[in-house]
Amino acid sequence: MRSKNKVAGAGTTGSSASPCAACKLLRRRCAEDCLFAPYFPPDQPHKFASVHKVFGASNVNKLLQELPVNYRSDAVSSMVYEANARVRDPVYGCAGAISSLQQQVDVLQAQLAMAQAEIIRLRMQHAGYLAHLRLTSARGGGGGGGGSSATSSPKMMEVNEKPVYNLETEMDQTSMYEPMWSC
């Protein structure tokens, strides 16, 4: 019994393998050693369609032939990605995606720089407060300064008082300089 459905590529050998998506689109016989067959299976016709639309079958063929076999799969995948990007955005294609990603990198790096600057500022503020505490305890001997509770913790005092950091009086106290740079 002969199958009425003649499948391109089956030939007279009776092979049941259907042609790859490339040969199907190009309406040609899919040879055993078809270059496209491993990368464009017949159940994914859209893959080859977009690649053919943007690069052209002959150009894809030339590009793949120039590559070692173990690189061809990745090359096809990247070409499909690029072709799809061009179909979605005929003006900018992949370059549009690159531009958008670069902008996101810039925004993130700006945010990171701001956050790091804030940490440095807070560390300096904290160091100044500690220096103030030491100076206060060295002078007065008692806790708390004027007005506030004598037993108040440094944390409580930070909430109510803005730390005062006077460079002139603290110049000789090198121990106040805590390491600010964690790197």
Binding site: K47, K53, V54, F55, G56, S58, N59, L63, E66, L67, Y71, S73, D74, A75, S77, S78, M79, V80, Y81, E82, N84, R86, P90, V91, Y92, G93, C94, A95, G96, A97, I98, L101, Q102, Q104, V105, V107, L108, Q109, Q111, L112, M114, A115, Q116, E118, I119, R121, L122, R123, Q125, H126, K155, E158, V159
Partner: protein, 153 residues
């Protein structure tokens, strides 16, 4: 004499595309505004990767005011594909996504440190933490991993 002069004049006015393809450059050549004769290598690269007819078709379907940008981006992609036949400009995309991921991680660590300081000094540090964090979380489905490249297509 005058005919040869006019012939040579028309030949010298050919764009890089028509020069490369060894054809007459007509007045309405769609490629000539974007592939001037002064940059022959640019068209050679584009032709090698995409093919002249594909490029002409891609430009033809666009409005005139967008064709220059399209030609520029096509040249960019062709250049990177010629440099890297396996990944082309997709490699740049992958690198940028990796950079975004790293920056996000670093930003998260830095913000955690800020949160520690906020616990000590709520009046100063909280204003930084409370700012809306746009663009920090990317939709991970757009991330391109070369190992998963096949699945994303």
């Amino acid at each position: 004499m005058s005919e040869s002069n006019s012939n040579s004049a028309s030949i010298s006015r050919r764009c890089a595309a028509c020069k490369y393809l060894r054809r007459r450059c007509s007045a309405d050549c769609i490629l000539s505004p974007y592939f001037p004769a002064s940059h022959p290598q640019r068209f050679a690269c584009v032709h090698r990767i995409f093919g002249a007819s594909n490029v002409a078709r891609m430009l033809q379907i666009l409005p005139v005011h967008q064709r220059a940008q399209a030609a520029e981006s096509i040249s960019f992609e062709a250049h990177w594909r010629a440099q890297d036949p396996v990944y082309g400009c997709v490699r740049i995309i992958n690198m940028l996504q990796h950079e975004i991921y790293e920056s996000q991680q670093e930003l998260a660590r830095t913000q955690a440190q800020l949160a520690m300081y906020t616990a000590r000094q709520p009046t100063e540090a909280s204003s930084v933490i409370a700012q809306p964090q746009e663009n920090l979380i990317l939709d991970n489905s757009n991330f391109l991993n070369f190992q998963d490249l096949h699945d994303l297509i």
